[in-house]
Every structure is written in structure tokens, then in C-alpha cells.
Symmetry: C2
Subunit: 523 residues, 2 copies
């Protein structure tokens, strides 16, 4: 029975009624010991993270990725991991490590793989105010005019927990890697051994669509055998509360290019005769998605699996963040609001989404010329929910594009193709992956919630599915294993954008939570 | 009575029935003499044009423009012009020259101003295959894989007339300036004096919207006093036939920017909750213009003056070019065709147009990130026809944008504005100008047609209005003078785009046509 099937069993509202049970160690004592170690080692932890962030990590640049992988191997081996690279074909390597039996508490009966990714989104220094996104800088707070640089070497410890470390991947996802390793350092200092067998799997192409992940998982199935995977990715809740996450939306990239004349034409001499590719792109995009977020692709939502009662109850229990977010983000409306539906963020991200992530045709501003462009391109990312599949999404999207009167091609069309068809569109898909939701009522799900709640001293939020994508479905489909996500980074980390940052308090909290998971999982 | 009014008098189909009358000189003999001079001086003419093209000439760069103006003063003075710069306020200077009475045939009763512009559109070397657009190169033909560079210095004369000179402004509009001056050189060599008083007016900001042209014309009204203006701009007909043009569409630039969240947001965590500025831009553009060129702005065509019978007859007599153009441009359709209307190019450009000349939001291709962009921008140029005015177009467009539910601002909105309005759009207009059409039945109109036909030995085409914009309405409105356009450059010159070029045969033809106008105007 696949996990997908398990996850659809209705389980009522039990998820919210979970209470702490006895864990392996005294959570309060453990918290005190981990915190004491961290307070004494803050600058070393930030320094180790800075060293990792200084390595460029766009997945398409293999030489950079290899440097990251080698660096991570060293970090794991220094903690006693038996570590090596896992590859499949020409995949960017995953960094793998396991703690030998001697490093784990006797009688540990379960094995858990802890996952993070070390590659990052592309970044343009022009967007970062000219700063190199791979030169980490410690600053006094969130991005803003009053925020100043701090010199780590000369800063007095303890560091101000509101300070933030700025660099590509500070939060997404190198910070969590360092939090996990620091948690192991803290446990070692406290003389506490992990209560589960720990394997670590650090992916190198998550931000590039995890193209090879399934192959790597298949090829190294035995190495990766485990009772559960815990993913260290994504942000904490907008209220800064910790949350345990049971799924994630899937993602697919799509690029659409429409064509005008073979050469740019004077818009006076040929305007409203020669086809305008930007106007065609507008027509096409308007046919795919409305301004209120509504997806107009016929049949697109046919495969959407409804939420269970537990999932609905957990979603409804989330604290309201919408008013504060609208204020912070300076938006006068949200898409759900405008179509007369919900404006609750979590309810909105339980649905599939079509995001226009980029538009390009000729030039705007001072470089604009009075010409009909030769082509226009839109870059799109879809967010999928269970049980949509990339295959079905591709199929329905292309059928819909054809129904709008476009001739779909998958390779750059030659001039003869452009001559013989009225509206040609080049459709290019990135490899994507499906969404997944793990049941909140599995024994391991309850154990994770219990360990986290015990360490925090209060209940964490439970999120049925994260809006952001991590390749949960690949683990579930390939390994048939429960997957739970444990985010630690600040929600306002500018993930995927300029000025990505990690708030130090989130790094400290992450060390404590991972220490709890390493030692407190009992099921 | 203004020229605008004159132009609306119905005159039947007389325009097509015009026949050659006796001009001042024997056209065949003059043609022979001009051609003989040109054949002996081809390399000098191309060399002089190359020298002019080597000067960067984007209107916004005043230092570059000044260098062009100084260079042109020298070129005029070497031909005996009394030349100086005309300015108004901080306008880029117009270069002005007049031939003193001693240089003109005795008894010349009319004065004609010959106009061209010396500034050019911006150009990006990246679009020119890395070549500097201001480093002229002589090549063996139209852009293509078999076209080779030619070294002018070592080329044998006569030059192959199918060769082309490549550079920004080779055709638009420095080539015609050199053609006019070479025509004067040829006349001088033949001992023939111009039959009209010649004034030359070379504008320095036509490609930047002719912002200051009206001021310059007003301030120098007495200097510029004349019986007619002849504009040397625009291309010959697509069949390579010469055409005399009696008007031009107007132009206006518009830039629209829509807003999303104040910072780029992870499209997974916020996708289909936070407003997407690219989707808003798509909605807005789809509300302004359809993919078939139809303008959806309410009342936009209310002020369109119908064509007269002469104008309709002249338009109908234009040779069909559409099939060949579609083949050459590799387009499988044209906008008129798709909406069930005409596919005749000239009929289409008799109407107003809305061209999307650029789109920009975040990035596409390898730089695309899974984020909701903060803003999206479209750059638009309108083409106006008589009697639309820029004021009315602005007014109706903004009213229409508001009717689509957008909050219009004219300065970059602050965050509070973005918080308190659902859909904010920044609307920025370039200064533009109206269209104009001069009657084809004025005495001067007939004289121009006669002189050109005589020199060619066959009737030139007559075009009621050019699709492209030259600031005809500014001359008409400011000086109340008939304005006729005499294009000479090849239609496939990649004007306003990369690889702009001038075919040598067009330069040679231009020299003969201007020699005819200088000596043959008799009314």
C-alpha cells in the first residue's frame, strides 16, 4: 500500500488532540544543555555557515556544486559520519552520510534520514544592490535603511539574536544543514547519543527541479533504507511559531515563447499589420490564468484530492497572519479576496497555483525602441497539489493552449513553421514533480510532533501541506516512506529573491529542535 | 485656412491622373549628368556617409548629438550653405543651412525647406552580434549567412549597387542627408543651379519624440519661412518603387507598470495569495488591445478622419506586397487577416495602432526564479491618425484603464498607496505628436509628383499617409505649410532594429531624385 493511499484515510481531528508522551530524555534538561553549548559557540557556528555560504551553488554550474559537495563531505566527516557522494548518471551529487552504530544510543530501533539541499536559486548582484550574493554578510536586522553590517570577528558574544546572516542559501537551505550539524556537536558535548540511526542526505539540485533525485533514490535504495525522512527545508510560520509540516506542493516550470516577424520591424510602417508577439503572449497568458489567481486551463483541477477532516482542522487552527502580511508586503488586496473567496493564506496554498515568474520581450524604459519585437517569452511555475501529476498537467495545459488557437511546438520553430502556422508557441517544460501529503496520524507523525512540542515547551503548529515545493513526492513514490518536514528558518528570509537572510534566533532554535528529533523520537 | 482643412477637400481621383508637365530643365539630360557624376564619386559619397555614421547619435546623449551637429555644419558649409545651429531652451540643436541667392537660379520664386533628422534609435551591440552599431561596415548584401564584409578603401569602383552600408542611422536618417548633399555636388559639377531657394533643417531628436521641435519652429519661424517642406525620411515602397508621401501617422509612447508585493516572494509559499504583477499587466494589456490589433480603448477611434476619394484611390493603386512580405518575414498571418478585415498593408496603416514594444518582469530563461515579481512593465507605442490628438488619446486611455479597475498614478507609488489601493498602475507618457495628411491636389503637391516622375521616367507611387511617424503635424500646426515626404531608403533597412543598413542603389537613386526636386519644382 502506497503512502499516498495511507494519507487519504480519514482520521478525524485527532491531529490536534495529540499530547506529549514520555520521550527518551528529559526535554527541559536537554534544552538547557544544548542552549548552553550554543551560547558558548555562537561565533563558530555562524563562521562555519559563512564558510559554506561563500561557495557559489547554482545547480547548473557543476564545478561550483562539486566544491560545495566536497566541503560538506568534510563537515560531515568531522562529526564522525561515514560520508560519500551519491550520484546517478550525470546528476549533481547528493552528499550522503551515516553515523556508525558506535555513535548512536544502544537499542535504537528506527532509522531516520534527515534531508536538506545545498544548491540555491540563481542570484543577480544587480538585484542585491551590487553585493555578491555569495559573500555572506552579518547585518543588524531585516533589510532596511537602518540595518548595518556587523563584523563577526570583532563582535562580542553572545550575538544579538535579531542579527541576520545575508547570502544566497542562508535560509534555503544551507542554514538548516549547519543547524543539524551543530545540534550533533551540542549533543556530543552533553554526552547524549542520538536515539535513532541517523542518515543525512543533502541534495544538489533541488532549486533546479530535482531532475535526477528519483534516479539517485532508486540507485541507492538500500543505502537510503529508513523508517522515515525528515526534511529540513522551508520557513517557520509567519508568526515565528514553529510548525511541523506533513506535505508540500509540487512544482513544474513552463516557458512559453510566441513569435512575430523574423526581424524586428518599425512599428509605424508595420504596426497593426505584422503580428505582435507580445500581444499574442498576453492573449495566451490571459487564457491560462486570470488576475485573481484563477487557473483557466480546462480540467486543471479534476485531480485535486480534497483535504481530510484532520487536515481541515489543522489548517483552520493556524493563527491569522493575513492583515499583518498585507501591511508588510504593501498589497491592498490578495487574489482570494478579489474573487469573493477566502483570503486565508494557508487555505489558498492548499490549491494549485500558476505563477508568472517572468516576462520578456524586447526592452522597456530608456532602451525601448519603436519596433515590433520578434518574440516574447513568459516564464511560469505551477504549484501542484495531490493527486495532480506533472504528466496530466502538461497534457491539459498543451491541449488548452491548442484550444486557444495556437500551434504548439517543443523545439525552436524554423521559419517555415512560422510561415505556415498562424500563431506558433514554443512550449518548454522543466522537469517537475508532484505534491504529497503524509497522514498526520501515523505513529512516526505523532512521535515527531511530540518531540518538537516537548522541546519547545508548547505545541508547534501542524501544517497539512506547505505552499512551497520540496520533492516529497519523489521520496514517497520511490521509497514508500513517511516524509515529514521540519522548517526552522525565518519566514521573512527573502528566499529565492535578493537579500536572502537567516535570523540568528532561528538558527539557535533550529539547533534545539534538531537535537530533540535526534534524541526524542520514540515510536 | 489651415492645411488640415485644405486636406479634407474631396478632390476625386485626380491624383492618379497627374501627368508630367514641362519642368525647368530636361529631366533625361539632368539624370544622365547626375548619374555620371555619381559613378565617378561613389567611394567619396560612401566615405562621407561612413564618417557621419561613425558618430554615436542617441538623442538623449547631448555630447554625442553636439558632435554630430558640428560635423553636419562642416558638411553644409563645404557646399556653400550659410549654416548654423537652431535651438530652443535645452533642445538638442537642429542644424540649419540656406543657400545664398548667388547659389540659386535667378528668378527662383519659391522657397523649400528640406528636412531630415540626424539622431538615431538606441542600439545594443548584443543585438548586432557584438558589433558596434556606430562602426559602419560595407557588406555584400542584406543580412544573412552569405553576406560578407567589404573593404571600401580597396573595393573597385563602380561599387556593386546591391552592397549595403550597415550602421545605426544608415537609412534612418543620415543616408538621405548625404544623398541631398551629393545631389548638390552633382548639380554643381553639371553647372545647374537649384530652381528654388533651398533651406535645410536637420533635426536632432526625432527618434526621441521631437519634444522640442515645436519650440524650435516657433522661435525660428522667420528663418524657416518657406512655401513647402520636403521631408527626407522613411523607406521606399516594398516593391522598391519610389513613392511620394503626403502624410505620416503620429506617435506617442506609454509605459505601464503594475505592482505586486513590496519584495519578491517565494511563489510556493505565497503563490495564488499575493497579487502577481505580471498577471495584472496581462489583464491590463488584454483590456487595451486584442491579439488582432484591435484597440479596445473606449472611444479611441472617435476622432479618426475618413480618407478622401483621392486618398482611397491612391491607396488602392498600391502594388500588392503582402504575400512577399509574409514570406520574407516568416509570418503565417497578419492582424487584419485574422479579424476578418483587410490584409492590405497600406490600408492597415491608415488606421491607428497600439504596439507593445517591450515587456519586462523579473527574468525568463536560466535566470528565472520561482518567485512572485514585485512589478511588471509594458512599453507601448501608439500610432495616431488625423484628427486624433495626443491629449485625447491620453485622456481616453487613462479613463479606460480606470474602467478596468486600476488605480492610476503618474509618479512611482509609495508603499502606502500600494497598501490602500487594490490594483495600482504607474502610467508614464512620452511626449508625442499628432498625425497629418497634406492634400495630394495642392499645386506644390502636383509639382513634386511631376518632378519625381520626370526624373524617374515613370510614375512614382503616391501614398496618402506613411505608417511610420515623422513630426509632420508639428510643421503643419506651427508653420501652416504644406509638407510632403520623399523617402529614398530601402524598405528592408532594419530601421529601428539591429543591423540597420542602406542599399547603395537606394543612395544612388536618392541623389537623382533630390537633384530633380532641387531643379525641377515649378508651380
Amino acid at each position: 500500500m502506497s503512502l499516498r493511499t495511507i494519507a487519504t484515510i480519514p482520521v478525524g481531528v485527532l491531529a490536534l488532540a495529540l499530547t506529549a508522551q514520555a520521550a527518551g530524555a528529559d526535554p527541559a534538561k536537554l534544552r538547557q544543555e544544548v542552549r548552553a553549548w550554543r551560547t558558548a559557540h555562537e561565533k563558530e557556528v555562524v563562521g562555519e555557515l559563512s564558510g559554506l555560504l561563500a561557495l557559489r551553488n547554482v545547480a547548473s554550474d557543476r564545478a561550483d556544486i562539486q566544491r560545495n559537495a566536497d566541503h560538506l563531505l568534510g563537515m560531515l566527516r568531522r562529526r564522525g559520519f561515514q560520508a560519500r557522494l551519491l550520484t546517478a548518471g550525470d546528476a549533481p551529487p547528493a552528499v550522503y552520510g551515516e553515523i556508525p552504530a558506535s555513535g548512536v544510543a544502544p537499542g535504537a530501533k528506527h532509522t531516520v534520514v534527515f534531508y536538506a539541499h545545498y544548491d540555491g536559486q540563481p542570484a543577480d548582484p544587480a538585484d542585491w544592490g551590487g553585493a555578491d550574493p555569495w559573500k555572506p554578510v552579518l547585518r543588524t536586522g531585516a533589510p532596511g535603511p537602518d540595518t548595518k553590517d556587523v563584523d563577526l570577528a570583532s563582535a562580542a558574544a553572545p550575538l544579538n539574536p535579531e542579527w541576520r546572516l545575508y547570502a544566497r542559501s542562508a535560509s534555503d537551505d544551507k542554514g538548516p544543514i549547519v543547524a543539524m550539524l551543530a545540534a550533533l556537536d551540542a549533543l556530543k558535548a552533553a554526552g547524549v547519543k542520538p536515539a535513532v540511526n541517523i542518515k543525512m542526505f543533502l541534495e544538489g539540485e533541488e532549486e533546479d527541479g530535482s531532475t535526477h533525485l528519483t534516479s539517485i533514490l532508486q540507485e541507492h535504495r538500500d543505502t537510503l533504507k529508513a523508517d522515515a525522512w525528515i526534511l529540513a527545508d522551508g520557513p517557520v510560520h509567519q508568526t515565528r511559531k514553529m510548525q511541523v509540516v506533513f506535505g508540500a506542493r509540487g512544482v513544474m516550470g513552463l516557458e512559453l515563447t510566441t513569435y512575430g516577424p523574423a526581424r524586428a520591424l518599425h512599428s509605424g510602417h508595420y504596426g497593426n499589420w505584422a503580428p505582435n508577439p507580445a500581444a499574442l503572449l498576453v492573449e495566451l497568458l490571459a487564457g491560462l490564468r486570470g488576475p485573481n489567481g484563477e487557473i483557466r486551463i480546462a480540467g486543471f483541477e479534476d485531480d485535486v484530492r480534497p483535504l481530510t477532516e484532520s487536515e481541515k482542522a489543522a489548517a483552520a487552527a493556524m493563527p491569522p497572519v493575513e492583515d499583518a502580511l498585507r501591511q508588510e508586503l504593501a498589497v491592498g488586496w490578495t487574489e482570494g479576496m478579489m474573487e469573493g473567496g477566502t483570503e486565508r493564506l494557508l487555505e489558498r496554498v492548499m490549491r494549485p497555483a500558476l505563477n508568472i515568474r517572468g516576462l520578456q520581450s524586447a526592452q522597456v524604459g530608456r532602451g525601448a525602441r519603436n519596433a515590433i519585437p520578434t518574440e516574447a517569452t513568459a516564464s511560469i511555475d505551477f504549484r501542484l497539489v495531490p493527486d495532480q501529476t506533472p504528466e496530466k498537467v502538461r497534457e491539459r495545459t498543451e491541449a488548452h493552449i491548442r484550444s486557444l488557437g495556437f500551434h504548439v511546438v517543443h523545439e525552436v520553430p524554423d521559419l517555415e513553421t512560422r510561415r505556415t502556422h498562424a500563431k506558433v508557441v514554443l512550449v518548454r517544460w522543466d522537469d517537475g514533480y508532484a505534491a504529497a501529503r503524509t497522514s498526520m496520524d501515523l505513529p512516526v507523525s505523532r512521535a515527531v510532533i511530540r518531540a518538537v512540542d516537548d522541546m519547545l515547551g508548547e505545541p508547534a503548529l501542524r501544517v497539512p501541506m506547505l505552499g512551497g515545493s520540496v520533492p516529497v513526492s519523489m521520496f514517497v513514490d520511490t521509497l514508500n516512506v513517511p516524509v515529514i518536514t521540519m522548517p526552522i528558518v525565518n519566514h521573512d528570509n527573502s528566499q529565492h529573491a535578493a537579500h536572502e537572510n537567516l535570523r540568528l534566533q532561528n538558527l539557535w532554535d533550529g539547533i534545539e529542535v534538531f537535537a530533540a528529533l535526534f534524541t526524542g523520537l520514540d515510536w
